[in-house]
Symmetry: C2
DNA sequence: CCCTGATGGGAAACCGTTTTCGGGCGAGGT
DNA sequence: ACCTCGCCCGAAAACGGTTTCCCATCAGGG
């Protein structure tokens, strides 16, 4: 089981190193019979070419880097599933960069860049400045952004249509008769959260409702903070209290629902809650969460595909004995920015607006002396 | 920004390649002044040695492989955080192998083994046969198992003390006065689940309670199945119905709680539920989940440390200009199997056993004609 | 003053693969 | 039968580092 080199295989097969190499890279220049023989010898001895040597000689690796902000997010995990599916199929491996600590970020990029260790970079949900990435990209390293988008930056990217998703969520609520709709935000440094908030505001306005600043609460994806802010929401007098809440993520929605329960409010009878993401548990909790589904694994797949065909032609890796692998892939059309549709998943956490105070304000007009 | 090689640096610094290389590997054989000068040139030109060339020449990489069964599990994500923390600190990168599809498993192992791409392997929550890993290990590739343990296999491993955790959970329930305690199992192919189940049975027996097979339900970590089986549990006549449920994971517990709610049972008043894991949301749901905490990120850290010092002495990577880096690490004592303690986190999902049918059966004895 | 030993630095072999280039050999045309 | 191709395969030069070995130099001691 000692390390077998290409030379050993050549000797064993009675040919030269170069022939073995040509077989490895299935060049047409080698006689089919020879090829079969060499392949047989390789298989018999369980030969696998040295990764390092190949990388050095070829000047590139079959590795793609993936930088993520921790894996604990459901989104990242799901995206990875999609990415893994396609990279694996084409013989690429993934190097994972967990970009938790900001300080090393610069040196990380440096390493990635110059060591030419990866032949492509996938960047998921990025909070860091994008300039270094642009730099990498213009140095020739394929980069694609996932769920990270910046207006001014011309990097290929795939995102969900967060704005449209927010619109859809709000329409759902609006059609159920809600008028006082709160918004509990995620991390507003993310473009996706900004888009969702824009959607929230626009939907409100185009329904003729003036957004009430009181009803927008920061959450930052922090459960504790979300609960605290939600409590404020639910502690409002009945005529100012929201009858529905648009949460910027499913886990945010969970925390909102918890706060509602603590305030003695029932979901959806007293207050409707809609989430964003459609994580697995959304269907399992009580009540099942109505939410906007993001196609995470598809996003991962598409991103990986974009990256792969930016990297260039990749011959089939294992050089199996199969014939006719020439499936005509869809020609990689220029699509620097892919935004994927979201969809409304209706479950049970949203119901009609409570009729306590009916359409044209009853209790309300009497209690407020002179203001309208 | 064209690729800078060691030769360029040598020329720029007015020394030979070998000197530059010696500086890179901070050998003591180079004059401090020369070293400083070379370092300065390297830094000025943002030189980073070619990953592939280094790997080829050295015969090893600063890469460790991590094979995981998908990232969507909270456990895997948390473990990765720990792993990333320590690998990053010592300049290692992680190659992620998502072992979703079983079929390619053999060839995956082959690739890992022979291409000598990684210098160590971390295997998390493994469902596959372990022989290939043993093979790898005896071929000299450091391997450590995380949350995967097999009695007969002599691979280094770190796990949580699942048996003890189960005992603790059961004791908690027992002390609250519960006697009819159900168990909803996880994937029993995992040793951890087997251990938890052993703990369940033993705790029951040592409390003088004969385990009722009716109260053990398979769950397999599948929400749908868990709910279905839980429904069966809660549909039992009152005198046979469990007053508490030990779930093999937190998400299992969620599904159990959902089923309870559907059956009109309150938690913890009518039925207590205890989980296992202590995932983030456990504190956020209603009611907050009492559970057994597994130290996932610590497990990841320890596993990574074990792996790293099995890999051997690793000089500081970037050769900074600091002096006196010789921190005396704790000498890697022989600890092939590390089992880490779990801890009980008491929240609100477990309460005293309902007194409906008090200690020596009241309603029960009247309703059941002749049985006791 | 010469010899010795230590020490910093250079030359070159090597790691395992790719890739270019040239040559041997068989077949086909005239 | 000879020449001309064309097709395969072998020889050798990269790829960018590491590492061994040896030489030059300088200091110190006899």
């Amino acid at each position: 089981m000692a390390k077998l080199t290409i030379r050993d295989i050549a000797a064993l097969a009675g040919v030269s190193k170069s022939t073995v190499s040509l077989v490895l890279n299935n060049s047409p220049k080698v006689d089919p019979a020879t090829r079969r023989h060499v392949l047989a010898v390789m298989r018999r001895n369980r030969y696998v070419p040295s990764f390092a040597a190949t990388a050095l000689a070829k000047g590139s690796t079959r590795l793609i880097g993936m930088v993520v902000p921790g894996l604990s997010w459901h989104m990242v995990a799901s995206i990875n599933i999609g990415v893994a599916a396609v990279t694996e199929r084409s013989g690429f491996d993934i190097i994972l960069y967990t970009a938790t600590n900001d300080r090393d970020y610069g040196s990380l990029i440096d390493r990635i860049l110059t060591s030419s260790m990866v032949s492509g970079l996938l960047v998921v949900s990025h909070e860091q400045p994008l300039e270094p990435l642009v730099q990498l990209h213009s140095d020739g390293l394929p980069v694609v952004l996932v769920n990270t988008i910046d207006a001014d930056v011309a990097l290929p990217s795939v995102t969900a249509d967060n704005y449209d998703g927010a619109l859809t969520a709000m329409d759902h609520l609006l059609q159920l008769g809600h008028e006082r709709i709160a918004c509990v935000q995620g991390r507003m440094v993310y473009r996706c959260c900004q888009d969702r908030y824009r959607g929230y505001l626009d939907a409100l306005r185009s329904a003729g409702i003036q957004p009430d600043p009181e009803l927008t609460k920061p959450g930052d994806f922090l459960p504790e903070q979300i609960r605290a802010r939600s409590r404020e929401l639910f502690a409002l007098p009945a005529d100012q209290r929201p009858t529905a809440v648009f949460a910027h993520s499913d886990v945010t929605a969970y925390a909102v629902m918890t706060a509602a329960a603590e305030a003695g409010l029932r979901v959806p009878e007293d207050v409707s809650v809609i989430g964003f993401d459609d994580i697995e548990s959304a269907a399992q909790i009580r009540p099942p969460l109505t939410t906007i589904q993001q196609p995470f694994v598809d996003m991962g797949k598409r991103a990986a595909e974009m990256l792969l065909d930016a990297i260039g032609p990749t011959d089939e890796p294992p050089a199996g004995e199969s014939a006719g692998e020439s499936v005509g892939d869809e020609p990689a059309d220029e699509r620097p920015r892919l935004v994927m549709p979201t969809s409304l998943i209706v479950r049970a956490s949203c119901g009609p607006a409570p009729v306590t105070r009916s359409p044209r304000g009853r209790t309300q007009t009497t209690t407020t002396p002179a203001k309208a």
